[in-house]
């Protein structure tokens, strides 16, 4: 699985989009975010404890997401994150930016044919 993982820099750059896009669907707590990203990208994007939480706190600090403690299905308190109105506004141009980036990269290097 490790060989499938893309380099750290690209992974980090795309992680923000991945988190915001996931939270646009529904509020999730840290562990769920990590698992869903791993599942939905078939292990290409993979978060560890050390990479996920600084990113969540950074997004929270910037006002894109907000966290509050809530009991999960097992009745355990978990800090559930949801997208703020500012985060929702941020997501659309971010998606467009990444789309442009991939399009440009594809045009340049033919990555879709690789």
């Amino acid at each position: 699985m490790k060989s499938k993982r893309i380099s750290h820099k690209i992974s980090r750059g795309s992680a923000e989009l991945a988190i915001l896009a996931l939270l646009a669907e529904k509020p999730l707590y840290g562990f769920e975010i990590a698992r869903q990203i791993e599942e939905k990208t078939a292990g290409v994007l993979c978060f560890t404890l050390a990479s996920l939480y600084p990113m969540l706190y950074d997004l929270e600090k910037r006002g894109s997401i907000t966290g509050r403690w809530e009991p999960n299905q097992a009745g355990r308190d978990r800090r559930v994150y949801s997208l703020t109105p500012a985060g929702k506004k941020e997501l659309a141009p971010l998606r467009k930016e990444w789309k442009l980036f991939f399009h440009a990269l594809d045009h340049l290097a033919g990555v879709s044919n690789a």
């Binding site: 707590y29 840290g30 562990f31 990590a34 698992r35 560890t48 404890l49 050390a50 996920l52 939480y53 600084p54 706190y57 950074d58 600090k61 403690w69 355990r76 308190d77 978990r78 800090r79």
Partner: protein, 220 residues
């Protein structure tokens, strides 16, 4: 090293043990620790659900725990970025200055009142020192409370609470030394007695207010 066979999984303690001090306000630090502990707990449960033995599951969780070593610095950097004040200012200097300013703010009107003609016959002890000593616990409490609220450790809370007398001690010491160097017959013991009275009693009074806040805030 942790024994994978241990059955008392205290995830909070595990995170506290491996995470460097967060240097964040106490409440925020506790939330981070609780959140990381919850993550480890979920990870452990996930491994168990996949059929892993407890010992193996714990071993896998410990691989994530090993990443905690440099996480504190990352979290601190993210959480404190863009803040107007650094944590030392919030945990120590600001509470200390609040304590000092409030102590001086209380002393000034007491001195002013004691100098009014109708009170001139009364002793400074009765008019100034005793009422000031009675009010000082509130100043110490304010300083220590602010330091604790900002996540200050025991030392920061104590020093913030006692800050007025620490400032007086420094100032008084300078005056005593100056007196010793300046006067041919300084009669230094007067200065030392005044310093002791000006420091010991107010310190005790400030400490009364500081003591309740020396205990760390209750974890969530």
């Amino acid at each position: 090293m942790h024994d994978g066979s241990r059955n008392n999984r205290d995830w909070l303690a595990l995170v506290r043990e491996h995470l460097q001090p967060l240097n964040l306000p106490a409440k925020e630090a506790q939330e981070v620790i609780a959140e990381l502990a919850a993550h480890l707990e979920d990870l452990y449960d996930e491994h168990l659900e996949q059929g892993t033995t407890e010992a193996e599951a714990f071993e896998k969780v410990m691989q994530e725990v090993s990443l905690l070593a440099d996480l504190a610095e990352k979290i601190h950097r993210v959480k404190m970025q863009g803040g107007i004040m650094n944590s030392r200012t919030k945990q120590f200097w600001l509470p200390g200055l609040v304590s000092l300013a409030s102590a001086m703010a209380l002393l000034t009107p007491l001195i002013t009142i004691s100098m009014q003609p109708r009170f001139l016959g009364r002793s400074p002890l009765q008019m100034v020192l005793l009422p000031w000593l009675a009010l000082l616990p509130f100043c110490g409490a304010a300083g220590a409370w602010l330091a604790r609220r900002a996540g200050g450790n025991l030392q920061a809370r104590l020093v913030a609470g006692l800050f007025p007398t620490i400032a007086l001690l420094i100032l008084g010491s300078i005056l005593v030394v100056t007196r010793l160097l300046t006067f041919a017959h300084p009669e230094w013991w007067y200065g030392l007695v005044a310093l002791a009275i000006g420091i010991i009693f107010p310190s005790a009074s400030l400490l009364i207010g500081t003591l309740p806040f020396l205990k760390a805030a209750e974890p969530r």
